[in-house]
């Protein structure tokens, strides 16, 4: 029995869970600092990011240690490799939460600009995607992960395009509002990138569970699904 390896992977799992919880918390705090114009929350997000950095290094060292000492194979190997990659995505999400918090501080210093772009909705969508991807990772749920990969991420991208369009028009109409509007766009960009990292986590979760690398294969996968559906429905 691989008792030693199991003990090590359990330990790694706890470390990643704690890191993920912290990252999710900081995303939530950053979002609230923007939406509710809460300066204290923004500062807290910035100040606690170094703990995420430390945890990221710890997780990486743990993964390397397991690879070197236990030479895992099959699902054990896929688990460690997925954690190595997810670890990096989590840390980046933490950094993007900091960027958002920094923008929040600038935004709070100025009066709230009028915009038709619904930043709150985008925040909600992004937070949901992060929490879904972490749920998928924790519960080894490849179906949920596939849903994030195939549909949720597209919704965020659509919203980003909308943000560009609306903010551009509004800057043209109210050039005096350029700075706060640019801040909104910057926050939207951070949200989009956070969602991208959440999608990476979903893709690595699919690899971890099913052993298939799905990156760069979205279109092919959809074509296969469509073909399968067509074959399934007679006539």
């Amino acid at each position: 029995m691989a008792v030693h390896l199991m003990r090590e992977t359990d330990k790694l799992k706890k470390m990643v869970l704690s890191l993920a919880a912290h990252v999710e918390e900081n995303v939530r705090a950053a979002v609230r600092s923007v939406i509710e114009r809460d300066q204290a929350l923004a500062y807290r997000t910035i100040e606690t990011d170094h703990l995420i950095d430390i945890a990221e290094v710890d997780v990486e060292e743990e993964c390397l240690k397991i690879l070197a000492l236990h030479q895992p194979v099959a699902h054990d190997l896929r688990y460690i490799v997925a954690m190595l990659k997810i670890n990096r995505d989590l840390e980046r999400i933490g950094d993007l939460a900091v960027s958002m918090a920094e923008r929040a501080i600038q935004m709070i210093a100025k009066p709230k600009p009028k915009t038709t772009f619904d930043l709150g909705a985008m925040c909600e969508l992004c937070e949901k995607q992060v929490s879904h991807s972490l749920d998928a990772m924790i519960n080894r749920d490849a179906n949920l992960a596939r849903e994030i990969w195939l549909s949720e991420d597209d919704r965020i991208d659509t919203m980003m395009a909308e943000a560009f369009q609306k903010v551009e028009t509004e800057i043209r109409e109210h050039p005096e509002n350029t700075e706060p509007l640019m801040n909104i766009l910057s926050v939207a960009r951070s949200l989009e990138r956070i969602a991208d990292h959440a999608t990476n986590i979903a893709k690595d979760t699919i690899y971890m569970v099913e052993g298939e690398i799905v990156r760069h294969r979205k279109r092919k996968y959809r074509e296969q699904m469509a073909a399968a559906q067509q074959n399934a429905s007679p006539g």
């Binding site: 390896l5 030479q71 194979v73 099959a74 699902h75 054990d76 190997l77 099913e210 052993g211």
Partner: protein
Amino acid sequence: MNDTPDAPPDITLKAINWNFYYGSNHALHDITMDIPRRQVTAFIGPSGCGKSTFLRCINRMNDLIDGVRAEGSLLLEDQELNSNDVDVIALRRRVGMVFQKSNPFPKSIYENVIYGLRIAGVNNKSVLDDTVERCLRKAALWDEVKDRLNHSALQLSGGQMQRLCIARCIAVNPDVILMDEPCSALDPLATSRVEDLIAELKQDFTIIIVTHNMQQAGRVSDLTAFFYMGKLIEMDKTQKLFTNPGKKQTEDYITGRFG
């Protein structure tokens, strides 16, 4: 899954519904597999799973045991091995074997290498000299022993003796080399030499290796076959088997969660 239909596989050895019995003990059940030419195939599985038994079927080593019986077909280059007509001596010239414990003869290094040729009646000195150099070079042993070819083989280190046995094995130019845990008695450095050698040898020979060391199977083989309780559970490209095995039993065995 089978999305890489490269070139049609060139098969050296083919087993079709191969069953093997030690008296009433049914040791191998319906083994069907293809061993491709000039590749390394690793057999893995827990002790008593039948992998060594199957290996020994290939050069009919099991014939030496009373009460054995085989059913099915085992084809070496399309020649049926499960037949009374097989010239077992000739077969063993075509199917060389390297054992867990190196077994050099208590003779000189030189005589060990050409032992097979001497039996075959070759006495031409220059042919023998050439063979000794060629095989010792191929076995990556030449530089270490070229100045003492007439010394006793028993003076060599464990790793050197094992490479000498490999040199002796390839001197008769077999089609297949069977290796039954060839490194289990060697230290890591000697193991690594033998593993390097396996990579060299597969350019000329079809190699089948039984190993308990999963990392070794991963390092040296192109294909891996997992045996359990006398059955072939799964055989696939080594990379696939060790990253994403198709069967739960394989997964449990290679990740050490067995039983």
